[in-house]
């Protein structure tokens, strides 16, 4: 046996990991809050995880502008193309499983196996809605047999810019479950992530940014619900609100929405584990347009 050199302690320290900065996602970019603020995010066990951007009213405004700008392009895509992009989001999420699972486990305090299952369900939700993109119109619309020489067709169209309050208790699966249906049918979204557990939302934003989803279709804000919700609910250029995660603010926000008659999805009994949400979250965010045309020679 050859001599083995004596083991000596390394002189260079082990590699320092590069930490992520958790930023907002607005108009396809990842800005910090214009306010320059951030807030500490802890795990369900109270361990500090990271600082998240603390968005402001002005960030809400910027996000609405980005969502409005993106609306004509996104709603003008073919349904098939939107479906392809949604499927691409599922692919991108799948590729970041480990990261999502870690964040879910930390945020929800669940086992690694349970976290994996939640990530799987979230990925599958995108796949589910990817398939809806070119079908909901057929289910919700159709020809109406009017009593006259007219062709009469009803078709659902996206409502426009939708303000979404993601459920606080389900920071990944709940988040995907409210965001996906809104953009599936051609709306653009300004989403306020779970205040307590925003990190999966930021990671999702990073997946969205690499999945061919046009800039501004989904805009994700992190911060205080009480600060962000009223300006979003009162913004005249927002067409609808999903109040699922609005908690105690829901009634106040619904009243604010009345100022410009926004469509409102009220908080309800949601089972995020249900693999078939169907059209229940698409219906509230589409408008039915009915077109008449004479039939003659």
């Amino acid at each position: 046996m050859a001599d083995i050199p004596p083991r000596i302690p390394p002189r260079i320290p082990p590699r320092i990991p590069v930490r992520r900065t958790y930023k907002l996602y607005v108009g396809g970019a990842f800005p910090r809050s214009e306010s320059g603020r951030s807030y500490p995010v802890t795990s369900s066990a109270g361990v500090h995880l990271a600082n998240a951007a603390l968005a402001s009213r002005k960030d809400v405004r910027d996000a609405v502008v980005a969502a409005r700008e993106a609306f004509p392009g996104w709603s003008g895509r073919t349904a098939y193309n939107r479906g392809q992009i949604l499927y691409r989001i599922a692919e991108m999420m799948e590729g970041r499983r480990a990261q999502f699972a870690d964040e879910v486990a930390a945020a929800e305090g669940v086992s690694a196996g349970r976290a994996q299952a939640i990530v799987s369900a979230a990925v599958d939700r995108w796949v589910h809605y990817a398939g809806w993109a070119d079908k909901f119109g057929q289910v919700l619309g159709g020809a109406n047999p009017v009593s006259g020489p007219y062709f009469n067709l009803s078709q659902p169209e996206p409502t426009g810019v939708v303000g979404v309050f993601a459920p606080p208790g389900s920071p990944l699966l709940g988040l995907v479950s409210v965001l996906a249906p809104v953009i599936t049918c051609g709306n653009t979204a300004v989403l306020v992530a779970s205040e307590r557990a925003p990190l999966p939302a930021v990671t999702l934003a990073e997946a969205l940014a690499t999945s061919d989803l046009p800039a501004g279709v989904a805009n994700i804000l992190t911060g205080r619900l009480a600060e962000l919700a009223p300006p979003l609910a009162g913004h005249a250029d927002v067409n609808a609100l999903d109040l699922t995660g609005a908690g105690a603010l829901a009634a106040e926000l619904e009243a604010l929405a009345a100022t410009t008659l926004k469509r409102v999805l009220r908080p309800g009994q949601d089972d995020w584990a249900d693999p078939d949400p169907g059209l229940s979250r698409i219906r509230p965010f589409v408008e039915t347009k009915t077109v008449w045309h004479p039939i003659g020679r």
Partner: protein
């Protein structure tokens, strides 16, 4: 004299605004709900009688029948001398002589169909000879048919040239151009044929021969009335419209008058500018007229059958 149409006839006619079938039917149906009562009805019935081209166009027509109709044209209601005479008597060319004699001095016009009526499938020389013969025999009005085959094939020049040639052959006689709208099928075609005939010099455009179903309808007549209205606005020349075939009741006739009034305007509410080509219609007009005067409904036994 035909007008000058800028550019090609085809691009001109196809440049006319389209006609939406459902819309034109809706408008006609709406106007058909006009309620014409009391004094308005009296005026309408007399006006309608004055506008009648009392027509017999049967292979079995006899001189006797034509003479009977001529008498009726002059004095439609033997029991009521206040009933006005009709506008004209309309016959086949071989009956012109008989009719002219029977109508002499009455002021009632004498219309003859010509140009190979009703199909129009004869050579141009024959059509012109037919026309000249009718005029020579005493016809004051010529009801010609267009070559629908040429029109539908898009040979607008041929149709245009035939009309101008027949118009020249008419001399002083008035020319009514029958579009035979039942064969043109679409309202776009009716509009194009109307403008084509007007530019070619038609004094009247007429819906139908009465030999094809459908004959006159309210929507078709509406489109033709729009054409003469717009043609006058564009050129300054006023032309008339004749609705012919299928108009059997006074109620129908009054609906046509409403159409004339509301689409073309009051300027057309005169037998010089609107005609109803009919045979049995006259008796119903007379019957309604009597009912309005006496308050009692009449019966067919009290009016002459022809």
């Amino acid at each position: 004299m035909p007008d000058t149409i800028p550019g090609s006839l085809r691009s001109y006619l196809h440049g006319l605004p389209g006609v939406d079938e459902v819309g034109v039917r809706r408008r006609a149906a709406d106007l058909a709900t006009r309620s014409i009562k009391t004094t308005a009805k009296r005026a309408a019935l007399d006006l309608a009688i004055r506008m009648v081209d009392l027509t017999t166009l049967e292979g079995a027509d006899t001189p006797g029948k034509v003479r009977a109709l001529a008498a009726k044209a002059r004095r439609p209601d033997p029991a009521d001398p206040t009933a006005p005479p009709v506008a004209a008597l309309c016959v086949y060319p071989d009956m012109i002589g008989v009719a002219a004699q029977a109508l002499a001095g009455s002021g009632v016009g004498l219309a003859s169909v010509a140009t190979g009526f009703p199909a129009g499938r004869t050579p141009l020389e024959v059509k012109l000879a037919d026309t000249r013969a009718a005029v020579a025999a005493g016809a004051t009005e010529i009801d010609m048919v267009i070559d629908r085959g040429a029109f539908l094939a898009g040979d607008y020049g041929k149709v245009f040239d035939e009309i101008t040639a027949v118009k020249a052959a008419c001399g002083d006689a008035h020319l009514k151009v029958i579009l035979e709208t039942g064969e043109l099928v679409t309202y776009d075609n009716v509009r194009r044929a109307s403008w084509l005939a007007l530019h070619a010099g038609a004094d009247f455009i007429k819906t139908s021969t009465g030999k094809v179903t459908p004959a006159a309808t309210l929507p078709v007549t509406l489109v033709m009335l729009e054409a003469v209205r717009d043609y006058r606005a564009a050129t300054g020349r006023q032309a008339g419209v004749k609705a012919a075939g299928g108009i059997r009741t006074a109620k129908d006739a009054i609906r046509y008058l409403v159409l004339v009034k509301e689409i073309a305007g009051d300027d057309w509410l005169d037998s010089a500018w609107f005609r109803l080509g009919a045979s049995t219609l006259l008796n119903d007009l007379l019957m309604q007229r009597t009912k309005l005067g006496t308050g009692h409904y009449g019966g067919p036994d009290y009016y002459t059958i022809d």
